[in-house]
Symmetry: C2
């Protein structure tokens, strides 16, 4: 019997939950649950790991996100993460090409393999209902149906697509009709009609079935995707450049006669906006969703998220206040879509607050700029256990390091020495250096840079374990 | 002819413009004008300096604020600031004791001296109107009137006291009646009645006159204050502990038959709340008062102040958002008095965000904590030209310094050397050290502390030019 595979969609622009999400740190990487233990991506793995083994998990993401996706998978799965497949898409081409590429990878290993295609940035509170839905629909998928999971609407939402269930076939229903995001009146009709569900964007199908349907309805696209070298993906950029973006719904699901729906209730939310975050969040007795150090006086039905300092909110109603180290959002509930305009404005003005968090992730760890001024910059640098920075030099700056946690091996010119807390190192401009953490705890140091040019591109690398030398 | 003196009230709790103002950095120290050049205290000096010389200026403030008040006066007046008298009150006793103490100081030098008593945290936009008002009332003050300046009401404000003008006497009017803060209906009546003015809290009187009236209406208080040693203030704590707080209005003005009023229009505001700040601020075409890096979409009639990061506000109306490095306030316009409750809550919860700004001022300069963690703390330290830290040692921490601006003389154990940018110094625990800036620009360095105890009280001082050794 053929296996079950997951095609996990882990791209995204990082716009909708700004300022928590950023271009280089989109929603699926956020640890949004109450306990903050797992990111949405990790929760997605957690939801399927009992039935899908790591070697059957295929992640599709944007090329620039691959290191962070890999790091989060590794944080969750440990060594087994090396069995997962992570594909970096050089350009965003919507869900159609991504899902079909995933199906092609599965097909190359197991033509009858069943594929669970799912976004990595949704919340599903009732994981057993999710599991039961998959069990219920396995036969239909084996029979060639492309099963989509419908969510019984909780409200007349105008932000989602709807699907109308038709004739019953076994444990699923044929799809009668896809409906685009409706106006308020139609949304109300759909909400009251038991045949309508929200489109969750989660699918189950056999690799064979979806590729047959792609061949029928999108033959050009399929042919282009079939040209991709599935071993080394050497030509993926060239091919992605030549294809048009298209959603799987528009490209295949709305065309195929094999679309089926299984209506479910599984505590699903796409967390597609701060409004949706408030909607699904745990509320206090005033209807507020609050996190962080918040002083909340006479305030109701609001979303108040603070990370790091004190937020005092008094006398407000239906407001969204989301604060981070470098950016603050304030808007009324119901207007959280405005964040798109905010991000567009930031982009237009050449700012960076929609692209990165102040905490910058690197393959070896992280750094955070603590302060900068004329001629100097202060960073806190964390090197994870088992990681090493490249052997490098800077032409325009000296670096002063003071170690404050763990131990590291420091290479500086000809000298190699092990340093620990309260040790200091001076690296003059022009001197080759490297930091290696071969310990078991993170090594942390404070770096004071001094020089006439302090940008990241003043770096000459001589050796790098992460392949960052061209 | 007797001279003109200023008694400048520069105490205050730092509550009303929180989070900009703090207990240790109240409103008069804030640089709130568009260009941010002068603080309200400095603007107060600027307003009177053409007619009152520094040696005739007497500042009354809270004891703990003396260094900062002195520093701002010095920043504005330079060397002449040494001629000013600054009196630190050990306890807050309201305006009555402060003004009478100021009058006693003047009286001891010049019994017929005229005293202009004025708060240091108000805004007066029309300085020539202010000057004209003083000119107009000089004769009345010489004739023994205690002149208060009334402000023609701009709106039916319920937050101020009102004064009704009575019979005209020369260029001023006798005070007919003082009215406490009225309800909305009475405020409307007062607003429509041309005889009523707001009580500005600015007074002009001869030292003789006010002390005579104090002797008549508050003989006990006057006697207590007369016991204060006006040369060295050695017994001021003991005496302040024995007196009751009382405002000059309630204590003298409402009792005396010599109260006069001069109604004026001088663009006055007490900036007593964020609402008042919005009311008097320069508005954009949507009625918003905006400062800092603010992205403002479809937002009207709001006060949006950002210091340091990006604030995005969309779809809001009549909102106050004030953000600082460590604290954020969000409330509707009209509710800015709520900030008192916020500060009370911070105090109750043992927090610090209502007491100090992250930037800590010292007699020799400033420091800012950039980062802290287990066993370490990172500070940026600025030593002003001509200043020196105490000769000191720490028992529990080592310090690593990297200089990033200016030059300094560093004493470390037996060694004395001059250091400049990109130089580093290591001060082990237990070693006596000192930093002296005898240059002409600020000296800045990054300090990484490492040790098992990192609080400010791990300091043993051997020499200190600021008298901080008991």
């Amino acid at each position: 019997m053929s296996g079950l595979y997951a095609v996990i969609l882990a791209g995204g622009s990082g716009t909708r939950l700004w300022p928590f999400s950023r271009q280089n740190f989109p929603k699926q990487l956020l640890k949004l649950s109450q306990d903050g233990q797992y990111s949405l991506l990790q929760e997605t793995i957690r939801r399927i790991e009992s039935r899908i083994s790591p070697e059957n998990m295929i992640f599709l993401t944007s090329e620039h996100l691959v290191p962070q996706i890999r790091s989060q998978i590794s944080e969750y799965l440990g060594d087994a993460s090396k069995l997962c497949r992570i594909v970096g898409e050089p350009l965003a081409r919507n869900t159609g090409p991504a899902i079909l590429l995933g199906a092609l990878i599965v097909h190359s290993r197991d033509p009858d393999g069943l594929v669970l295609a799912l976004p990595s940035d949704h919340v599903i509170e009732d994981v057993s209902a999710f599991s039961r839905a998959i069990d219920t629909s396995l036969d239909a998928a084996r029979d060639g149906f492309i099963v989509t999971y419908g969510i019984r609407p909780a409200r007349p939402e105008t932000g989602y697509g709807y699907i109308r269930a038709g004739e019953r076939v076994g444990s699923v229903y044929r799809v009668d009709r896809f409906e685009e995001k409706p106006g308020p009146e139609r949304a109300r009709e759909f909400f009251e009609d038991p045949d309508y569900s929200w489109n969750s964007g989660i699918f189950l199908f056999s690799a064979n079935a979806i590729l047959e349907e792609a061949g029928k309805h999108r033959p050009d696209l399929l042919k282009q995707l079939e040209g991709i070298d599935l071993e080394h993906f050497t030509n993926i950029r060239e091919i992605f450049e030549s294809i048009d973006p298209i959603s799987i719904d528009y490209g295949i699901m709305e065309k195929t006669a094999r679309a089926a729906i299984l209506p479910t209730t599984m505590g699903w939310s796409d967390l597609g906006s701060w409004d949706s975050f408030h909607e699904t969040g745990v509320k206090d007795d005033k209807g507020n969703v609050v996190s962080g150090n918040v002083i909340c006086l006479d305030t109701t039905d609001s979303l108040l998220l603070e990370s790091g300092k004190v937020m005092a909110v008094s006398g407000m109603k239906d407001v969204i206040v989301v604060d981070t180290d470098d950016a603050l959002l304030v808007c009324p509930r119901g207007r959280s879509q405005d964040v798109k305009m905010v991000v567009a404005r930031l982009d237009k003005e050449g700012m960076r607050e929609h692209i990165d968090h102040p905490l910058v992730r690197r393959p070896w760890g992280t750094y955070l700029v603590l302060d900068e001024g004329a001629g100097y910059k202060v960073k806190k640098i964390v090197v994870e256990p088992g990681q090493k920075l490249s052997l490098q030099l800077h032409k325009h700056r000296s670096e002063h390091w003071v170690f404050v946690k763990g131990e590291a091996v420091v290479v500086c010119d000809e000298e190699v020495k092990t340093v620990g807390v309260n040790d200091r190192i001076f690296v003059p401009a022009g001197v080759k250096h490297r930091v290696i953490n071969d310990g078991t705890v993170p090594a942390e140091f404070i770096e004071v840079q001094y020089g006439d040019y302090l940008e990241e591109d003043d770096i000459i690398r001589f050796e790098d374990v992460y392949g960052r030398i061209d």
